[in-house]
Amino acid sequence: MATSPYDVAVVGAGPAGLAAAAAALAGGARVALIDAGRQPGGQYWRHRPGDLGAVADLHHDLGAFRRLVAGAAGAVRHFGQHVWTVSGSAADGFTVHAVAGDAETEVPARRLVLAPGAYDRQVPFRGWDLPGVHTAGGAQALLKGHEVLVGRRVVVGGTGPFLLPVAAGLAARGARVAGVYEANRPAGWIRHAGAVLPVAAKLTEGAGYAAALARHRVPFHTRQAIVAAHGGDAVEAVTVARLDHDWRIVAGSERVVECDAVAVGWGFTPQLELPLALGCATRVDADGSLVVEVDERQTTSVPGVHVAGEACGVGGAALAVAEGSIAGVAAAGVTSAPASLRRRRRALRRFAAAMHAVHPVRAGWQSWLADDTLVCRCEEVSAGEVRTALDELGATDVRTAKLLSRAGMGWCQGRVCGYATACLTASCTGTAPDLRGVSERPIAAPISLGTLAGDPGHIGQQ
């Protein structure tokens, strides 16, 4: 172990992590900033190395990004590093264990700010394993990170405000967006005006995307969903259908839409591997996601460990920045964050709660599945096989269903199918989905046996 640890190690250099690093530095701390990417920005401000200008039109609030990067400039960067576990305690000090290729790095720190972000929540549907079917976030990442369009004629579906910038981005770069299929009715917003109006910038942002879709003549459908994808070697068409309140297909409403790519998103799943490895307490948020429980200072139930951003409740980049700033201040040992920052966090959290209220994922999606629809693509486990584990083999919880069916036991370790398996289990047992049972992954990133076996190069202080 290196003898002189950092005051604060920040894991994740997206909006929350950058803000945390900047705030901790401003508070006088020595800070290490660790991220799997080669440059800062996370998913939200994803761009090609050194080439933000090329995709500036696809981004939002780049001024904030530049300010945060400048503010975090004093942090020692460990970029391109995949954190495979974190260990230790406030009393003994923490160690962030990261791996890049065959080289392992251990970063010692007195306190941690974890800002791991989130990825697309997926629900399975017939044909979702066909090439050409992407997550909304995946389509967005290809566009922002590589200026690559997922297809020439794209159908976008799922639920949530994120579908708008994805569709707008695809259209702006020349794809024909054949339709956006939002499974909910966002008109429900009106009931939450009290939560929306205090963060008027969010309204402007939404209006901007709506205008862009109108300009590109992209049809926007509500209470409709992509319920199946069709094709031989790749997707050639999707079936869309009208949904009832519980998301069952309205009989006779199915329609086939031709396309060469699909982008679907059903909200986001926070990445909880690291907080769970440290034993942080969790709760279920308004969107049904498992999130880390934090206090006013973004402190978790584990002393010395702060969490900021999507991992403590999905709420977008602006909220992540506010939470990151508060976490950075707390981790630096400064007594308290400015009241204005806490007010901003409160307003943005109310906005997020309003979003979640109008964009729920309803259990009816399970009725779209055929028995042979794959739930787990890595291990090729079908919905029927998961149901056999529950109905015949006596599984009464998601962990047992997983171990008896192998759903979630392959390469992705349940990151993609964990939510679906938990929902199928819950429907069978009549309980609420237990996401904790599919979220613990003590090895947060794959590491080769040779690297794990070897002595890591220790990081000295700079």
Binding site: T85, H97, A395, T400, M409, Q413, P446, L452, A453
Partner: protein, 381 residues
């Protein structure tokens, strides 16, 4: 109506007990405070080994069990029974000599053994390090998917009329005088003709609810799981020191390499032993030791990715033998726990023996070495 037999524990030992008892015509209820196979059963590799035991009571039990598992694979099936054999290797000439001598004594006890000189190791395991002194092949070693094994046995027992109640915690015993006549649970009283304690690592806690002492303690182990691969490792391969570690009384960390491929393509890597209570914290030190030993045995694994790790708690007794049989201190109570790291392998025989006792048949084996009261305070002569 009271069940003939109430089994506490829906792990593999409870499941095997339920199956054999139901097959013998008993009415059976299984209770578990958690889910099916939620304890140590779901945290191991699924070993059915005869290779890691010197001649003695446990080896006799293992041989009986290994035969019964082969029958169960046909009678019940659906749990990935794989008679792949075990290969024990030694790094040094003295180690090889000791191994060959152990094999010779095991052979006398009825274990099939094949001595494999260094030059022939590659024929059995092409990717083994060439720097070994030799090994012994045990064709009788096998593997099952342990959770499926428990779930399939319970399903088969249900088909014979057994009832399985998960999420039901035993909180005490019903007594009639000294006699155990059922259990108190979080879901009410469940009277029964006999009660079987198959609570694994928690078997000592159940025994104490009945006012008897059965010293079962947890011994933690970690397993590394690799990415799925085409079959690189054909057998269960382990180092000769593993046998010594299994029998050790040391509380400190011990590791010895155990490497095996599975039907799903992943490679499982063990084995570590620590007495640290029920601490579930990931130990980076243990994972490094396991990885280093696996790579030393199979250099080809250096570039293979670990994607998962899990840990479990082996139920061990001070003399490393399980507890199987009636408890004279609490008539009506039978124990079937404390199998340490061999619970999957020994489950079939344990279930069968308990079913024989319940049916008042003579057991297939002398159960004296496994009797529950053997740990009682030593009385000075």
């Amino acid at each position: 109506m009271p069940a003939d037999v109430l089994v506490i524990g829906a792990g593999v030992v409870g499941a095997a007990t339920a199956w054999y008892a139901a097959r013998s015509g008993h009415s059976v209820t299984v209770v578990d405070r958690g889910p099916v196979a939620g304890g140590t059963t779901g945290a191991g590799e699924g070993n059915i080994l005869v290779s890691d035991k010197p001649p003695g009571a446990e080896l006799d039990l293992a041989l009986l069990s290994s035969g019964l598992w082969r029958d169960l694979a046909v009678e019940v099936g659906g749990f990935e029974f794989d008679p792949k054999g075990g290969l024990v290797v030694a790094a040094t000439p003295p180690g090889y000599e000791a191994l060959v001598s152990l094999a010779s004594s095991q052979s006398g006890a009825g274990v099939e053994t094949v001595v494999v000189p260094a030059g022939e190791l590659a024929e059995h395991e092409p990717h083994l390090t060439p720097s070994l002194a030799g090994g012994v092949l045990y064709p009788g070693d096998a593997q099952v998917q342990p959770m499926l094994a428990a779930a399939r046995l319970l399903r088969a027992a249900r088909a014979r009329g057994a009832t399985v109640r998960t999420g039901v915690e035993v909180t005490g015993f019903l007594r009639s005088g000294d006699r155990v006549v059922g259990v108190r649970t979080s879901a009410g009283d469940l009277p029964a003709g006999a009660v079987v304690n198959a609570a694994g690592t928690w078997g000592g806690d159940i025994a104490s609810l009945a006012g008897v002492d059965v010293p079962v303690l947890p011994r933690r182990g970690f397993i590394l799981v690799t990415e799925p691969l085409p079959r690189l490792v054909r057998h269960k391969v382990f180092a000769a020191e593993y046998v010594a570690n299994v029998a050790s009384d040391d509380a400190d960390l011990q590791t010895s390499p155990v490497v095996e491929g599975t039907e799903s393509g992943t490679i499982l890597i063990g084995a570590s032993r620590e007495r640290v209570g029920y601490d579930r914290t990931l130990s980076v030190r243990v994972l490094r030791a396991l990885a280093a030993q696996a790579v030393a045995l199979f250099p080809v694994l250096a570039d293979v990715k670990v994607i998962r790790t899990y840990r479990g708690f082996r139920p061990y007794c001070p003399d490393h033998l399980p507890v199987i049989g009636p408890d004279p201190r609490a008539p009506g109570l039978f124990h079937a726990c404390g199998h340490e790291g061999a619970g999957i392998g020994l489950a079939a025989a344990t279930g069968r023996l308990i079913a024989q006792l319940l049916g008042e048949e003579p057991p297939s084996l002398d159960l004296a070495p496994f009797r529950p009261e053997r740990f009682g305070p030593v009385v000075a002569p």
